[in-house]
Amino acid sequence: MAVKHWALKKSLWVYHVNTGACNNCDIEVLDLLTPRFDIERFGMILVGSPRHADVLAVTGTCTRQAMPRLQELYRQAAKPVVVLAIGSCAGAQGIFTEAYHMGSPVDETIRAVDPNAIIAYVPGCPPKPEAMIAAVVKAWDVIDTL
């Protein structure tokens, strides 16, 4: 394991991207910061810029308008970066898959700019905050294998 991976594991900084979500996943992500779940005890914190981020928490269906912006955000994030596709929409566009204003799903959108991107899926509509914490723990395991 390279030094940068070892360092990455110590405290994951999360940047939150909404690519056309209905807000449910977003309020549950914010809920992680507040007293009941309090992910800051694990050294995780939401940051205001993708350039500071170790994890991109992507919610939403990835609409046409958001698609190029998501690719740009992914490029700006410092590598290695773990993408968490939170919710059914980010996983496979969920109920909106037939709608006309969809871009490509989140994973395809990101793989178009980086075929080797690390993507973890958190299913649920919306996933419970506990599931999101579990996803981050799994992301740790992935970093171990790098």
Partner: protein, 176 residues
């Protein structure tokens, strides 16, 4: 505009508070489809849209809730939904945007609340609003082709979906 065939014209008696509101619009109302305790549906003269909007806003307790555009056989039906409080009444005034241009007079200069919704109907249905102050794209994304209107009945949301834009070009190599 008598040369346009307006579908399913009905005339029902004007009753109660909704009847008073529709009656106050006088002969600008050319057909009443429903008039009961809390709901009214009426068709108005397309030539007098702005005048009707001004009169509606001048009444006590009215506000424009929103508008709906519907693709019908003769053009785009534009439905302005007015709420009147505290009576809790919703009056829907219909105007047909007919002809090849599907144009109707914009009420946005008179009622600011109509500004966004008229832009939305222009985006999604291709209705045109004469005299709208700011008809830029609002709802659809920047790469959506001109002249493709997703809420038209002949648009299939899966088959007719325009191709996605390519990924933005990679930035120049980062400095070491």
């Amino acid at each position: 505009m008598s040369e346009v065939a307006i579908p399913r014209e009905v005339q029902v008696p004007l009753e109660g508070f909704v009847g008073e509101v529709l009656g106050a619009l006088g002969d600008a109302v050319i057909g009443v489809e429903r008039c009961d305790e809390r709901r009214g549906f009426a068709r108005i003269d397309p030539q007098r849209t702005v005048e009707v909007a001004r009169r509606m806003l001048a009444m006590a307790g009215t506000r424009l809730a929103t508008a709906t555009g519907i693709d019908v056989r003769d053009g785009i039906d534009v439905l302005y939904h007015w709420c009147i409080e505290p009576q809790g009444v919703v009056v829907t005034l219909k105007v047909l945007a007919a002809g090849p241009e599907m144009t109707v007079d914009s009420i946005a200069p008179v009622v600011p609340a109509a500004n966004w919704i008229e832009r939305e109907m222009h985006d999604l249905l291709g209705a045109n609003f004469r005299g709208h102050p700011d008809m830029r794209r609002l709802i659809l994304d920047d790469s959506w082709p001109e002249g493709v209107y997703p809420l038209r009945k002949d648009f299939d949301q899966v088959r007719d979906r325009p191709p996605l834009p390519p990924a933005p070009p990679a930035p120049e190599e980062a400095l070491p």
